[in-house]
């Protein structure tokens, strides 16, 4: 059967072309493609790894940021509270000081008023005394125009003096 008999010429051509194809393609073709596929695979793997790492890092940074924010918020709250307290205290202090000052002023004014009143009274008393002396002088001058009435008065004054002495002693 001719079909089942390999032709020598065709065997030769097949050997030649297959050898050439094999040498060229198996040396310069497929190894390059396989290497390229492998290196791309490696690149993808490393990229995935890097992405995972970056994600983890980002998570860390986010957590850190969150912590930082919370701390800042806490600090803010603290500061605000502090400020409120300080304000309260200052206001209280001011109020207290103002009260004290007011009291002091009122007291001083009162004291001054008392002193003034005292002085006025003193003055008035003096005036009254002077007036009384003057009036008494005039009265005495009229009444003590004679001798008797002068003696009488001296006696009476003496008595009164004595009496006064006695009461003081007792």
């Amino acid at each position: 059967m001719g079909l089942l008999q390999p032709e020598s010429g065709l065997v030769f051509w097949m050997l030649l072309s297959f050898a050439v194809v094999f040498v060229l393609v198996a040396k310069y073709g497929f190894p390059v493609i396989l290497r390229a596929i492998d290196s791309r695979k490696e690149y993808i793997d490393s990229s995935l790894d890097a992405a995972k790492k970056a994600e983890r890092k980002l998570d860390g940074i986010r957590a850190e940021g969150e912590a930082l924010r919370e701390a800042a918020e806490a600090r803010q709250r603290e500061i605000l509270q502090d400020a409120a307290e300080t304000r309260e205290r200052i206001v209280q202090e001011a109020k207290r000081k103002a009260d004290a000052e007011g009291q002091r002023i009122v007291a001083a004014a009162r004291q001054q008023a008392v002193a003034e009143r005292e002085a006025i009274l003193q003055d008035a008393r003096q005036q009254v005394a002077l007036l009384a002396v003057a009036i008494s002088e005039k009265l005495l001058r009229e009444k003590l125009a004679d001798e008797t009435s002068q003696t009488q008065l001296a006696e009476r004054l003496f008595d009164e003096f004595e009496q006064h002495q006695n009461t003081e002693r007792s």
Partner: protein, 368 residues
């Protein structure tokens, strides 16, 4: 509704086409008998020239170089156009019309007998083989060039290079790696080359016009060399365990001594495996070509049986040809795949280190 109208129009046109098609051929077919066997065998066999068709008496033929070496007259190299006419003779050489060398170039000797010289002519199959080999080299080296110009972080290829990459990585990951085992990197280029070689040759064989159409992988010489390559790859790189398995297998001693039954069977197995590869590829592709050609010939064979039968048989023939061509596309891929798979399994068996894994790995893969 419009879709239905559209379909019926197409169908009517197709029918008209099929019924009109045989008409010009009838005149010719009446004058001479159609020899289907000759047509089919002429195609799946080999020829010294590339005949593409006869159009109204004008034969469209590509002449191919004839290279022969005769022990008496030395080298001859000339165009096959010189032997185109029947009975033509050039430099004492002619194409034998009968006898044991029918259809081959012979040289008339002094004593009147025919001698077949060493025939290295670039026949139709050889020319097709060279064209397809060139195509493979261009395609694969083109792809490799694409990769050479890029870095690992360039985007993945698209289009043709992407297709080749998908094919290559599928073959390597799903076929070569599980079948060959740890040393798969060493054999991957060979197996991929074999796959591409068979696939391209199969596919080109299915194209009916010039650059394709040669029955390359359906030729026993081509299949023989491919099987020989696998034979060499298996046996030249076989490890110690592989040879021990053949000459001193793990069987009861009385099977090895005094009559080495099992070693003998194993030894014959070395040759039957690639032989089966060869026959499988050759028979599948040849049969596919034969079936498609026979179906096409139905049109011309029935030309004498009247318009009705011829017309209806033409429709049947065309539909079956389309079906067979689709099937052959599948077979073209499948045979390349099977050849590569079995080569990988045989190489893998010869690469095994230990005995325990020998049966597990290939059978596992074949099941899945």
């Amino acid at each position: 509704m419009s879709r239905f109208n559209h379909n019926t129009t197409v169908l009517a046109l197709l029918c008209a086409f099929f019924f009109l098609l045989p008409l010009p051929l009838r005149a010719q077919s009446e004058s001479e008998e159609i020899n289907t066997k000759q047509i089919v065998l002429g195609h799946i066999g080999d020829a010294y020239e590339w005949h593409m068709g006869t159009f109204g008496g004008w034969e469209c033929t590509i002449p191919l170089p004839i290279i022969v070496h005769s022990p008496t007259s030395g080298w001859h190299c000339f165009s096959s156009a010189r032997l185109h006419d029947e009975g033509a003779e050039f430099e004492g050489l002619r194409i034998a019309e009968e006898g044991p060398y029918e259809g081959k170039i012979v040289e008339r000797q002094a004593d009147g007998s025919d001698l077949r010289p060493l025939d290295l002519s670039m026949t139709k199959t050889a020319a097709g083989l060279l064209i397809n080999s060139l195509l493979i080299i261009v395609l694969i080296l083109g792809c490799a060039r694409w990769y050479r110009r890029r870095r690992p972080d360039s985007p993945a290829p698209r289009g043709f290079v992407g297709m080749i990459e998908a094919l290559v990585s599928t073959l390597v990951e799903d076929l070569i790696k599980p079948c060959v085992g740890p040393s798969y990197r060493r054999f991957a280029p060979y197996l991929l080359t074999v796959f591409c070689f068979i696939l391209i040759n199969n596919l080109m064989g299915l194209i009916p016009i010039f650059p394709g159409g040669a029955n390359v992988t359906g030729n026993i010489a081509v299949a023989f060399i491919l099987a020989l390559a696998t034979f060499l790859a298996v046996n030249l790189f076989g490890r110690r365990t592989y040879w021990k398995e053949i000459f001193w297998p793990d069987v009861p001693t009385w099977l090895k001594i005094p009559i080495p039954i099992i070693p003998l069977i194993e030894f014959v197995g070395i040759f039957t495996k690639p032989f089966a590869l060869m026959i499988r590829l050759f028979a599948n592709i040849m049969a596919g070509h034969a079936v498609i050609l026979s179906l096409t010939c139905v049109v011309f064979v029935t030309a004498k049986m009247g318009t009705l039968i011829n017309g209806s048989m033409t429709v049947v023939s065309v539909f079956f040809s389309i079906f067979m061509n689709c099937l052959e596309l599948l077979v073209a891929f499948l045979q390349a795949y099977v050849f590569t798979l079995l080569s990988a399994v045989f190489i893998g068996l010869a690469q095994e280190e230990g005995h325990t894994e020998t049966e597990i790995k290939p059978s596992n893969h074949l099941k899945s």
